[in-house]
């Protein structure tokens, strides 16, 4: 996924002397790839690619933390001004709120929601956002709408945790019941699209039983913030990533929130996002907290530990990186590092590090190689020398080298005779197979095809080549085509047999086709070839090609009945030969 953030927004978190272009260059080499930098007004917009394992980095803070680790190795200063994960916590929720309103949150299946936090605010004044926020959002490709909705998006991009707001008065009895949807249930989302749910989706229903949220993807229209909304529910959660991805893909609602949730978010970050959100809401909407805090978090996410040996780090990277450098790189990335040294053993393993992995990296960093990657990338791949892998002799099996040789010689020979190579999909349509009287059941079928054109695995190259001929009819006087490819013969309980075949089709005449085939055998110095009159389901005047006693192929005219069925305007001659 890609996110857009701005340079000045980044500077809210990061103290640095690097300019936007230096940031682009250095971060791309060692961390998040900044694909473009665009100067707009007095700010700069970064378009950043985030890999699926680093969703923690898909935020202004996440990029700032990477910059803190990376820039010093390029001689640039970089230091986090503050760490929002420490700064914002539930302890900041000021004063004792008036608890005039109540939320009730039954969770039907706790595996759906790893953490659910919510609170109600009263006296909310919907208005325009301050210029700073609306401008930054607009530059980041998100339309500024009003202060409440803008805060949602601002939080998401600041810390990488999507949040949502409802109009509290639209939620019957303050009940938000989290459950799986039933197949066929309907919900109209914020963008006025009526969705028919595939079933198993995470949804919230209110006290009247109507659905108000397609969780992690988009809120319901019925509970959305309007211009006259005064009481809102602010809520932040983390969901089962698989359920979110499935719903998002099946309904086609590929929202930015969904692309966050489907990667799996850190429930620990929910708290800081929530606390920061309350601060912004109180400041910008004058809202006042009027309910207790709901925080359902049955299994607290724990930090983990990974052991990494200095000698292994150096061995895999291929250069002697110093111990201090390893420690500083990891520490700047948010890991806690403790050094140990074995000296007692008969064969000491030397220095190793006990690395504490922060919760937001736990899913990504679990073995020594993960630590090696962190060190290697920040150290900089550009600082490593280029060495060609040491030479050694590996024997290539003879049948493989023979096959490749025959393949090239055949292809070039046919090209020089004036034939054109086509490459067709390995899958064909059931229609084509039916037309040519093939048994559909003799073919492997794709269970989840995206088009009936590509549904069955070929057992012959001829149907595709005949189709090529028909499609190209009239485009050229003489059409002579060939394909060298595998066909797939099903076997019970095992992978299919993949056989190499050569298919040839021409619109000239029988003599031409036979001449091509004879010349090819001569070129390949394959002797012992005999042509006898034979039978082939697609052909009239069919000939069988024998090598010794073994039949290796057929050629002939395409049978008139198929020419009829396919509405062909000219006769074609076809051949198919096995290559072992």
């Amino acid at each position: 996924m890609n996110i857009k953030i701005t340079y000045h927004w980044l500077l809210d978190y990061l103290e640095t002397d690097a300019d936007p272009y230096e940031l682009q260059k250095y971060l791309s080499l060692c961390g998040p790839s900044i694909e473009t930098v665009e100067k707009i007004g007095d700010d700069y917009v970064f378009d950043i690619e985030i890999t699926s394992n680093r969703i923690d980095m898909a935020s202004v803070f996440g990029v700032a933390q990477e910059a803190q680790a990376i820039l010093p190795l390029f001689g640039k200063q970089a230091k986090l001004k503050f760490n929002p994960l420490n700064t914002y916590s539930f302890e900041n929720l000021k004063a004792e709120p008036t608890k005039t309103h109540k939320l009730s949150v039954p969770i039907e299946d706790p595996t759906l929601v790893s953490r659910f936090t919510a609170i109600v605010l009263d006296n909310v004044l919907i208005a325009q956002s301050p210029e700073l926020i609306s401008k930054r959002l607009n530059l980041s490709g998100i339309k500024s709408i009003n202060n409440v909705i803008d805060i949602s998006n601002y939080l998401m991009l600041s810390l990488g945790q999507p949040v949502h707001m409802f109009d509290f008065d639209q939620i019957k009895d303050g009940v938000m019941k989290v459950r799986r949807s039933k197949k066929g249930e309907k919900l109209t989302t914020l963008d006025s699209k009526e969705l028919i749910l595939p079933g198993g989706d995470i949804v919230i229903e209110d006290g009247s039983g109507r659905l108000i949220d397609l969780c992690g993807i988009m809120g319901g229209e019925n509970s959305s913030i309007k211009g006259d909304t005064t009481r809102i529910v602010f809520f932040v959660q983390t969901y089962d990533k698989k359920a979110i991805r499935k719903t998002s893909m099946v309904t086609g609602q590929r929202t930015l929130a969904a692309t966050y949730f489907e990667k799996g978010l850190d429930p620990e970050r929910v708290e800081s996002t929530f606390a920061y959100g309350i601060e912004l809401l109180q400041e910008l909407t004058k809202g006042v907290v009027c309910s207790e805090l709901t925080d359902i978090y049955p299994h607290k996410k724990q930090e983990t530990h990974v052991k990494a040996y200095l000698k292994d780090i150096q061995r895999v990277i291929g250069v002697p990186i110093e111990e201090e450098k390893v420690t500083s790189i990891l520490t700047n990335l948010g890991f806690t590092v403790k050094k140990h040294e074995d000296t007692e053993l008969a064969y000491p393993d030397g220095v190793h590090f006990d690395v504490t992995v922060p919760t937001y990296r736990v899913d990504d960093v679990s073995i020594q190689e993960d630590i090696i990657e962190e060190v290697a990338r920040v150290y900089g791949y550009h600082n490593l020398p280029n060495t060609i892998s040491p030479l050694t002799y590996i024997k290539q099996p003879k049948y493989i080298s023979n096959l490749h040789t025959v393949q090239y010689r055949t292809k070039y020979f046919l090209k020089h005779l004036g034939l054109h190579e086509f490459l067709n999909y390995s899958m064909v349509s059931g229609d084509l197979l039916n037309t040519l009287d093939y048994q559909i059941s003799d073919h492997l079928k794709i269970a989840n095809t995206i088009s009936s054109e590509i549904e069955y695995m070929r057992t012959s190259l001829l149907p595709s080549l005949i189709k090529n001929m028909k499609d190209n009819s009239g485009r050229k006087n003489h059409l002579k085509l060939f394909e060298f490819a595998k066909i797939y013969e099903p076997k019970t309980g095992d992978l299919p047999q993949e056989l190499h075949r050569l298919g040839v089709v021409v619109n000239t005449d029988f003599e031409d086709l036979k001449g091509i085939i004879s010349a090819l055998f001569q070129e390949l110095t394959i002797g012992n070839i005999l042509v006898k009159s034979g039978e082939h389901k697609l052909m009239s005047s069919a000939a069988s090609i024998y090598r010794g006693d073994e039949m290796i192929g057929s050629f002939g005219a395409l049978h008139q009945k198929y020419a009829e069925k396919l509405n062909l305007t000219e006769q074609m001659y076809i051949a198919e030969i096995d290559f072992k």
């Binding site: 090696i372 290697a376 550009h382 090239y408 292809k411 794709i446 989840n448 485009r475």
Partner: protein, 348 residues
């Protein structure tokens, strides 16, 4: 039997009408050849007395010299006229031979194989319809990995195998890594696998089938510098000596660390700008080549190799993609290669 003097006379008459080298050579044979006029005359000498024989011999030799001189003169005359008197209009077209074509992927596969053969990598082939275990589990992609869902991989409608899972159309060539480890039993391994790969994605710029090439090197003491050096070697051989590569951190399940390889853009020479405009082909001077990394220890283990003793690297790049990135190929949409239009394909 002609008398020698007569022979000279008829020769001179014959010579007058000679206009080509071919007929001159025939004339030469007629008079001077083994069974020519003069030799016939010499054969008569046996029956003469010694004086007459001597006289006739001298006479014949004199005539022979004269004929040789005449022929030589005529030959130079004819040769000096050859160019001027050529009757061929060389600007007319020659005999027409139909020209054929090969698919762009064929050329790419041939070139890629050759580049890696030079540094000791053998090209192998593995199943294109594969078990889930080889395509995913063994490559450290657990059952809930998004690449394994219906949107990313084609599944075959057959009963699930107790041990190996479902049957799939290879979504990448990486299953070849496991196949090669199991085939060889232990390192060293230097393998290149070029094969068809399939993804359920078919629109104006995507095709459901394309080719990938997978490289893998496993041995003792293989490190990131080997991966870097080998890929840089490939890029320079395939795209040109003036191209630079870089590795960027990335994420793949089957490698750790993982990288994406970029190569400097050909169009803007890596500057990201053409005149005063942004280059439309690349991202600020760089083009993505593909994914690579150090083989994940779980993958080595699945292939029966001890990750404590051996390390290795692997990469998987798109064949059509690298071919389209090659200078001068002039093709910008992969679909054109698979739409089966002779007017496009015959150009290669």
């Amino acid at each position: 039997m002609m008398s020698p003097n007569n022979a000279l006379h008829t020769f001179q008459e014959d010579l007058k009408i000679i206009t080509s080298l071919e007929s001159l050579i025939a004339l030469e044979t007629q008079y001077l050849g083994k069974n020519g006029v003069l030799n016939d005359a010499l054969k008569l000498m046996k029956s003469l007395d010694p004086d007459a024989r001597k006289t006739l011999g001298q006479e014949i030799n004199r005539i022979k010299r004269t004929i040789v001189e005449h022929i030589s003169l005529k030959k130079s005359e004819l040769l000096s006229n050859v160019d001027e008197r050529s009757l061929v209009d060389v600007t007319l077209p020659g005999k027409k031979y139909e020209s054929g074509s090969l698919h762009l992927a064929t050329y790419a596969i041939e070139e890629i194989s050759a580049i890696f053969e030079r540094i000791g990598f053998i090209r192998m082939s593995y199943p294109e319809i594969e078990w889930e275990w080889f395509s995913f589990e063994a490559l450290n992609m657990p059952a809930d990995h998004p690449a394994r869902d219906d949107f990313e991989t084609f599944f075959i409608d057959t009963p699930v195998h107790e041990k190996w899972g479902k049957m799939v159309l290879t979504p990448h060539t990486s299953s070849g890594q496991i196949r090669e480890m199991l085939r060889l039993g232990k390192p060293p391994i230097r393998m290149i696998n070029i094969a068809k790969t399939y993804r359920p994605n078919w629109d104006s710029s995507h095709v459901p089938m394309f080719h990938q090439f997978e490289g893998m090197c496993i041995d003792k003491k293989i490190n990131i510098t080997h991966l870097k050096g080998t890929i840089d070697y490939f890029a320079k051989e395939f795209f040109g000596e003036d191209r630079e590569t870089r590795l960027r951190p990335f994420h793949f399940q089957f490698t750790e660390p993982s990288f994406e390889v970029d190569i400097t853009c050909d169009l803007c020479a890596g500057t990201g700008r053409i005149a005063d405009e942004k280059c439309k082909l690349c991202k600020q001077g760089w083009l993505e080549l593909g994914g690579t990394g150090m083989v994940h220890p779980n993958v080595l283990t699945a292939g029966g190799i001890d990750p404590k003793e051996y390390t290795g690297w692997a990469f998987g790049f798109g064949v059509e993609r690298v071919m389209m990135m090659k200078p001068g190929v002039g093709l910008n949409n992969m679909r054109a290669l698979y739409d089966g239009d002779i007017r496009v394909l015959e150009q290669f």
